[in-house]
Symmetry: C2
Subunit: 297 residues, 2 copies
């Protein structure tokens, strides 16, 4: 099994194509890293770079991209609708295969130290890499944004995890961490009644007593049907098939069925293998039995 982490850094530039390209090119030219996607949002003035690689390559690529972002982005001139703390803003590492969450936290910590040592940008650790509970959630760390950063850092409660307690003059501060892969998973129901989707969402989401590691809301989909729209934030705790099955059971109470479901964006192979393992009651099945796994770098 290849040792693989995903990295999804968010940089505060969504308009100047040449800057976005220069940042992404750092990932492209790193041996052992593979660029999967670059998305730029003009109104957010922000870009999201998605890549995977070995732990070492992912850290090297992330640092090179950060260096370029610090060089090319001046937060004093930055305007955009999305909250942000600096040019680098946020870098999550996500264990994909052959890598534990502890490994991903280790990569984040090493990168955080390098960002301070080499780029002089102070660093907060968040999510699984957080050093205290109040730093787990991004919105809490980002509160005050770049414009309020000097004041925030002056508060002893917000001493950075690496670096001095004052913002980099043009790059602000960076947030680095580790989290599970998030699977965006929607289930379309055989009804137009959005209230049913909302009730099912309440029943399945963790915040109101449902399934662990599930966020859910009831919405109307593009064809006007009721949809349970979910984020599965840790499929090792609640796998895709369990979310499907619980929504299916809840739907039956309203005389409603599941018409279809959809995965938005990417998901790890292990999540797909889990569905097959569950449905077929597979014994001793490993992903190495899938022919194509032998073709991964």
């Amino acid at each position: 099994m290849p040792r693989l982490v995903e990295c999804v850094p968010n940089f505060s530039e969504g308009r100047r194509r040449e800057v976005i390209d220069a940042i992404a090119d750092e990932v492209r030219r790193t041996n052992g890293a593979r660029l999967l996607d670059v998305q730029a949002d003009e109104s957010h003035n922000r870009c999201v770079v998605t890549f995977v690689g070995t732990p070492e390559a992912a850290r090297t690529a992330a640092l090179a991209a950060c260096e370029r972002a610090v060089e090319l982005i001046d937060m004093n001139a930055h305007r955009g609708e999305h909250p942000r703390l600096g040019a680098i803003d946020v870098i999550p590492f996500i264990p994909i295969s052959g890598v534990t969450m502890d490994d991903a936290v280790g990569i984040a910590k090493t990168l955080g130290r390098e960002i301070w040592d080499r780029l002089r940008v102070p660093v907060f650790f968040y999510a699984e890499a957080a050093t205290r509970p109040e730093r787990r959630r991004l919105p809490d760390i980002r509160k005050g944004e770049y414009e309020g950063l000097a004041a925030k850092l002056a508060d002893p409660a917000w001493m950075p995890d690496f670096g001095e307690a004052k913002p980099h003059p043009t790059a602000g501060a960076a947030v680095v961490g580790a989290r599970r892969p998030l699977i965006a998973y929607n289930i379309n129901l055989s009804t137009d009644d959005i209230e049913v989707a909302k009730k099912i969402a309440r029943a399945v989401r963790e915040s109101s007593g449902g399934l662990v590691a599930v966020q859910a809301m009831g919405v109307k989909n593009e064809s006007g049907k009721a949809q349970v729209s979910m984020n599965l934030v840790d499929f090792t705790q609640t796998p895709v098939q369990r979310a499907f099955e619980v929504v299916n059971e809840e739907a039956a109470h309203y005389g409603v069925t599941i018409v279809e479901s959809e995965v938005v964006g990417l998901l790890p192979l292990d999540a797909v293998v889990d569905v097959a393992r569950h449905h077929l009651r597979l014994r001793d099945f490993t992903r190495e039995q899938i022919l194509e796994t032998h073709l991964m770098e």
Copy 2:
């Protein structure tokens, strides 16, 4: 999606390690081909080499391995329990991804011509590459074996598809073709009664009126439980989940349940994706949504 074929050549050498290694090394050193497995059987005096590659690389690797086999194996001295027609014996190409069955047949035909042109070994095409119905099945082509080959080739009904109607003096003849990947799939039942497994096997296998492209028999497994042991010879016609579901329904008629199932050896990613797509009623799901597919060569 990478263009990928699997190739599983069988050579008539299962005892001399240096010969088996020399043959496998030809695959190892071919760019674009990846050796997955080499299995040698001493009593059969035969080895099975499994590799994957682009269509071009797979053909190149197969031809190089054949050349080495013809050089190192003398069928006049060959004894073994498994039926065989020559040093190369049989080479199937199997479409895995981004490649049609027609493509695989094309690769087989080109390789067949090269085996005659360069190695002077006459060639029969079998399975999907067969030129006539009576050449589809390997046992029919192999009948008479190496020892009866000269007589067989003298019969106009058994003119080779490429080459002259007489055996290569040391390598005999070769059989080349194309087939679907075969998934070896066993289902263990909650009973010791093998008769139940035999009845279910009769209900699900194609030869007695069950599911297309399914071979099945009822056996006792290593823990003494009844097992339905299947070969799914074309999962694009009968996917794994359908075999599971029909066995499950049949078992219910005998008051028996499925305890677990197992895949023996390898299966293509598409077969696993199909299970997830079916179970979750996935809409518009493609294998490119699986993160790891972007890491395949």
